[in-house]
Amino acid sequence: MRELVVLSGKGGTGKTTVCGNLAVLASSKVMADCDVDAANLYLLLDPVLKSSSPFYGLKKATINREKCLGCNLCLHLCRYDAIGPGFVVDPVLCEGCTVCYHACPCGAVEMIEHVAGHLFLSDTRYGPLVHARLGIAEDNSGKLVAAVRKEARRLAEEGTKELIITDGPPGIGCPAISCLSGADLVLVVAEPTFSGRHDLERVLELAKHFGCRAAVCINKWDLEPENTRALESLCNRYSVPVVGYLPYDESVMEAVKGGRPVIQECSGPMEEGILALWDELKALLELR
């Protein structure tokens, strides 16, 4: 079994669109949407929800006023300014570090179990999909990403699937790091823009930092061919192959608008580009 993780450094470069297409083309796979802040892959795959389970974040503090003597020690020690007037804890600011809990001389702080999001398991006509939703203003997205990947791995092993396609989160921070560790291949979707080049460099640096094998797909490559060449030379410098070129095509937006993977609607250069990308990925992942 192999795991392909699709990242981009930045949102909006076409990660989810590429994943939706690969989901149509790959035969034996499980899909995982690790953009737990703003999961979108399910919007393309028309899923039927099978199960939902709560995801517990770190416990958060509450202060029992009956036990509290008002010594203010917790206020002084809290580095997140989470304890307000009247010793009321702001759950958005509380990081669950437990400093107040351990330090309180009267045992007035209680750490309360806290549902930070949900993990979903769905069926699609392309195969099973694991996705999640982190509650608004919650932290621990890295941990929820790890939970999604673990569930996808379990499903893939159970069903003896040969591939996990993981739609990654944007950025290079905690959720992206949690997503790429242990992946067989990181596919970076990049755009031929100045910012795209900047973002690509940072995500390639991240992959290198964690010792992950990477490949690049350039989306909208014909928008600015000169920038596409700049992306190619950047990839060269990192010894990372460019394995796909997708054109700027407004019909993509139409397909996405209708909630359908692009490959079912397009022809010409877009279709050829997607098929060629999949062939290259199959070779790199040593899939049949």
Binding site: L43, T98, A103, I172, V256
Partner: protein, 285 residues
């Protein structure tokens, strides 16, 4: 006045809108642009500031005096983030897991732990014409961005228009960026992705008590789903920017939208007028 530009999702046009807004506003008064997307700051590509100043941002991490340490294990026990592990001969720290809460140094019974510092990124300051510019740049491999976002926000200037380019998502980094803003402009696109993420971003703004309005980017003329959303939630739909290949090409080359399409300035002027009139106060929920 602090205006945050957020979107739930990356790639919807936050930086396009924020940089154009800054350029139009700078024709009328003083503006400070704060790029809080510290994982991938891109505002500088549009506004091309000249840098004046760079400061390192550090977070506290424990420093363990192995001579005083009795390996009692209390520090690892109180660390909710599992950043400390007690080995047979020493206590080991995993610095990227540390949130700097201070539990270990406050609670170590032998006083063997003291706060040290670790660099997580830089805050860079500069200016682009009349626009003041601040950005944070997270070191690659670093997991925790909110302290760096906080450091960028410490540069907010009172009495001028502060424009915050927020990171994507709805979790801790965005919360830190948007919290305390007077108004949040939610940028979206008329697709199911855009609508889905707009709903999340809207909930986030409500949760923070920040009034908000919506701007549609890459409109193809049919924005009925977004319009419906705004109507149902009584959020003002402030303007729509059309899908435009030339603007996309301009973005690719680092040219702001209002320079490619000067006729779009009117949208941003109207937005500024709306903010000046305090129109946003009515949107507070």
């Amino acid at each position: 006045m602090i205006i945050a530009v957020a979107s739930g999702k990356g790639g919807t046009g936050k930086t396009t809108v924020a940089s154009s807004l800054a350029l139009v506003a700078a024709e009328k008064g003083e503006v400070l642009f704060l790029d809080c997307d510290v994982e991938e700051p891109n505002g500088h590509i549009m506004l091309k500031p000249r840098w004046h100043k760079k400061e390192t941002v550090r977070v506290p991490v424990p420093e363990i005096n192995q001579e005083k340490c009795t390996l009692c294990g209390r520090c690892a026990e109180v660390c909710a983030f599992h950043a400390l592990v007690v080995l047979p001969r020493e206590v080991m720290l995993f610095p990227t897991m540390c949130h700097g809460c201070g539990g270990c140094w406050h609670l170590c019974p032998t006083g063997a732990i003291s706060p040290g510092w670790r660099e997580i990124g830089q805050v860079e300051e500069g200016s682009s014409g009349k626009i003041g510019f601040v950005q944070g740049r997270l070191n690659v491999g670093e997991a925790i961005s909110p302290p760096l976002i906080q450091a960028v926000k410490e540069r907010i200037r009172p009495g001028v228009l502060n424009i915050i380019d927020a990171p994507p998502g709805t979790s801790c980094p965005v919360i830190r960026a948007v919290k305390g803003a007077g108004f949040c402009l939610l940028v979206t696109e008329p697709t199911p992705f855009g609508l889905h993420d707009l709903e999340l971003a809207y909930e986030m703004a409500i949760r923070l008590g920040v009034p908000c309005g919506v701007a549609v980017n890459r409109s193809d003329g049919d924005d009925s789903s977004i319009r419906q959303f705004c109507h149902d939630n009584s959020v003002p739909l402030l303007f729509q920017l059309p899908q435009d290949r030339e603007v996309a090409r301009g973005y690719a080359r680092g040219i702001p939208a209002v320079e490619v399409r000067p006729e779009w300035k009117g949208h941003f002027l109207a937005l500024l007028a709306f903010l000046e009139k305090g129109g946003y106060a009515r949107c507070a929920n």
